[in-house]
Symmetry: C2
Subunit: 343 residues, 2 copies
Amino acid sequence: MALRKAQQPLKEFAFIDSLVRRFPTRAPGLVRGIGDDAAVVTLPAHRQLVVTTDLLAEGIHFDLRTASFEDIGYKAAIANLSDIAAMGARPEHVLVALAIPASCSTPHILRLYRGLMAACRPYRVSLIGGDTSASSHGLFLSLTVTGTVPTGSALLRSGARVGDLIYVTGTLGDSLAGLQLLSRRDHMAALRLPRKDRQFLLTRHRRPVAHCRFGQFLRTHRLASAAIDLSDGLSGDLRHLCTQSHVGAEIHADSLPFSSALLCYATASRMDPAALALRGGEDYELLWTVAPSKSRRLQRAAKQPGRRITCIGVIRPHGFGIRMRTEDGRLRPVPITSYEHFR
Amino acid sequence: MALRKAQQPLKEFAFIDSLVRRFPTRAPGLVRGIGDDAAVVTLPAHRQLVVTTDLLAEGIHFDLRTASFEDIGYKAAIANLSDIAAMGARPEHVLVALAIPASCSTPHILRLYRGLMAACRPYRVSLIGGDTSASSHGLFLSLTVTGTVPTGSALLRSGARVGDLIYVTGTLGDSLAGLQLLSRRDHMAALRLPRKDRQFLLTRHRRPVAHCRFGQFLRTHRLASAAIDLSDGLSGDLRHLCTQSHVGAEIHADSLPFSSALLCYATASRMDPAALALRGGEDYELLWTVAPSKSRRLQRAAKQPGRRITCIGVIRPHGFGIRMRTEDGRLRPVPITSYEHFR
């Protein structure tokens, strides 16, 4: 634990105590959680440990003028849970490192934790440790989420083979559209957008979902040769998967799944929906590849109310690069774009 | 992974590649390290997972005017390794979350990693994951270190019993003296201090040691009923142990172990060495308790060249509080002080 200022430590320890009371952890296998030098956990037999860390920095990943403390905590958790989902793993525990500027009060931080635990609760992920410090600059939070997966069955980025089909969950680009609405960069578009569409896109940005159960479903039924989560936009994340698998990819523009709200937004703001999908991060949908022989089984098995999966392309040899077949039938290279959390 | 600015991602991914090349991880049980959504690890059978996270924030834990990037990386690793040591666990892996301001260049960050890995190498701790982002404010780093311990044998803070003796490794207060010399708050004292003493204290501050092997030794030989590492100063850390064990403690001022350099420094700067020990953090020595019946065995077993252990007091009932017996035989309450990393 790291401290500062004469009165800070007392506050910190009282605060940690209040957390333990508010978010009691009765996780199976938890020997020791918050309150010791480190957490101690018994992992289930025949399972491997999966572990990821993701940080959120004020001024980079969020703006306190447009994001609530609940949103920030929630999204920090989802960013990590989504990584666990992409491995086909079951999330287990979370550790939270926080650097808190003087402008944030204890109620602010409790709201942040409330958002964080709201994201974790559906998966019974327990808060087992962390570190709290003052910050002389902005608010920083760095989460570590552990998970487990039956030995040898984790979904890696490196398993895609030429000919495999490329699938995604849900719809793409919604979160970026929500962000643009939020930052009022497209105020005119917002005005032309039906209220329910606007609300849908804002919710997709503020409260994305981590597909932990679907990731485990793909793993259990061996319906993915490789997988990744879409946190930085389709173009960047597909590129990671292709790099790790030493393959190329062909994406079909007319197959990309869009919500009706996004199509409305794209029309109103005169943007190309495909461009929003390619560079739009924080959708936290899963992208995975599957052998064509398993495609029908995948389609059948994945058929559930509210679940949408879409085949958006095919894995090509490495030399093919990453290209998109546009609606006029031409193949264009997919530009390397990056996601900006806000500006 | 989190990104910003049009060119940032390319740099980030190239940077991650360069890290993988520079710090190759061939850890036993490592299935997947850097380069996937999460790391995958096979833990040894019959061992529990131990996991801790500690963050360092610019302007709170370090000052770039007095700390090198190597120092920062090194100390971030030690802060975490020392937590693992205090559990009696064997450290295994590290994940590094970094928010990097525009003022830091790639060579700076490589130096930070070099310091970090220098601290990890003696324990064969492998870099298995992380997150790299821009920072619009200062430099932040948050590390997560995993370790393992034979099931049921972790040293907890909560096991101290009334009558147990309180021991510490090494000498106390050196790091705070080094910090004060470094921040030139005691320039006159520095001038009066022999060069080798000055160097000793600076090294103790810049390059503290995590007692991972000694922690494991205590656990293996069942020579600790409770343990904690001294990261925030004796007064604060002893209090944590007492709180978790529901006991009090009596410390003997004339038993506190000091280096000759610290005694020299205390004389030159007219400070009480005991006060430096009580509020001086970042010594990363271990404090543990042991039943009196095991004390002789402990003393015998711990006898090794270069290893110093000292009995500094005894566990008292909860109502006793935490008090120090001063050289004149009187008992005084130990004030709650906190460690300031610099000012």
